[in-house]
Subunit: 212 residues, 2 copies
């Protein structure tokens, strides 16, 4: 497997390169201290896997993933980071990262195992993910999947407010809602003035962010 390492910390980068070289099926093709010269390196030879540090000065890891997946779709990106930040993981996933490992907790062996899985298997079927992160991501999706009704309970809304919120959530206009539940648009406005502060939002659009 041909590997590119994009990591600003010289020590860790070299350490990783040496560690990987110890595995007969791993060849470290490129070593970069930032993501600015990806094109230059990749022009000579394309790696199978790019190990990318998230926290880098200049062009950061997330941007690097985006660039690689867009311009070099055959290269699979595995993120390396010290912090298990859910937002970062989701961002990287959205931009097409293929895996997410944590520097301290995941050993070289674990890294090699992960990239082997990626290299041999189907990108869509495997996403090497650190256990702690897997749980966080899972929670995120579970939260997202929880029934809307259950979520509404958390905001101490009255039955009327729930009813209205659901109609808003389903994309209906004020007119439609007022007609449907037989109140005036003014009354509807009054209800909404009570609902939004409870959810800490300021517009219809943000309801999606609350209820998924």
């Amino acid at each position: 497997m041909l590997i590119a390492i994009i990591e600003d910390n010289n020590k860790y980068r070299d350490c990783l390169a040496i560690g990987l070289a110890a595995f007969p099926d791993c060849t470290v093709l490129h070593k970069m201290s930032n993501a600015l010269h990806i094109d230059k390196y990749f022009a000579s030879e394309l790696p199978d896997i790019a190990l990318i540090d998230i926290n880098m000065p200049g062009l950061d890891g997330v941007a690097a993933v985006k660039e690689i997946t867009e311009n070099y779709p055959t290269v699979k990106c595995v993120m390396l980071t010290v912090n298990a930040d859910l937002d970062m993981v989701l961002k990287c996933m959205q931009h097409g990262a293929s895996g997410y490992l944590i520097k301290d907790k995941d050993s070289i062996t674990k890294i090699v195992d992960s990239i082997r899985i990626l290299h041999n298997g189907n990108y869509n079927e495997e996403f090497p993910l650190n256990g702690t992160l897997a749980n966080k991501v899972l929670q995120y999706f579970l939260q997202k999947d929880k029934t809307v009704d259950a979520k509404l309970d958390a905001y101490k809304l009255t039955p009327k407010q729930k009813e209205i919120l659901l109609l808003l959530y389903n994309g209906k206009s004020y007119k439609q809602i007022a007609a449907e539940i037989n109140i005036s648009v003014d009354t509807l406005n009054t209800h909404i003035k009570a609902i939004y502060p409870k959810l800490n939002i300021k517009s219809k659009g943000e309801i999606k962010g609350i209820l998924g």
Copy 2:
């Protein structure tokens, strides 16, 4: 921790009870061979945790979870099963199960660890899940998330239009979107005038109806 075991296999039930009793912080409160008499047992004393076998004759494990979470919301349900069936996991999650472990792969120690986490922590923050299953569930949700992208393809939108539609879908205001993708609000309006007819809609709110 007070534990109830609901498991039709006598051998495994007793084995589990004995195993759990070896941990000083575990007390097996009830042992049941089916889920029919939950009320009778729970009337005398409520457990903290219910370990529930999925495959039981009569009232099955999924139904048991439902009954317990509805009537005894303080009791946390951990499912035990031999098969890593994704559908089952999702069903149990929807009905409020707090964890999902596999009989053969997850040892007693793992079970105890899991219920300790549940007992001490917040139900919303932890969901003990067998690693194999975690991956499956993760894939399921990732796949589910991808369908939005697939749906967009059906409407023959340009990349810019897709980008804008997704931002609209996520509840962002015109101002926010214009700032995010560095175009003027006027240009954004022009794009939207091109997008809505393609989707046969007339307002932001209706996007939810299209993309779910």
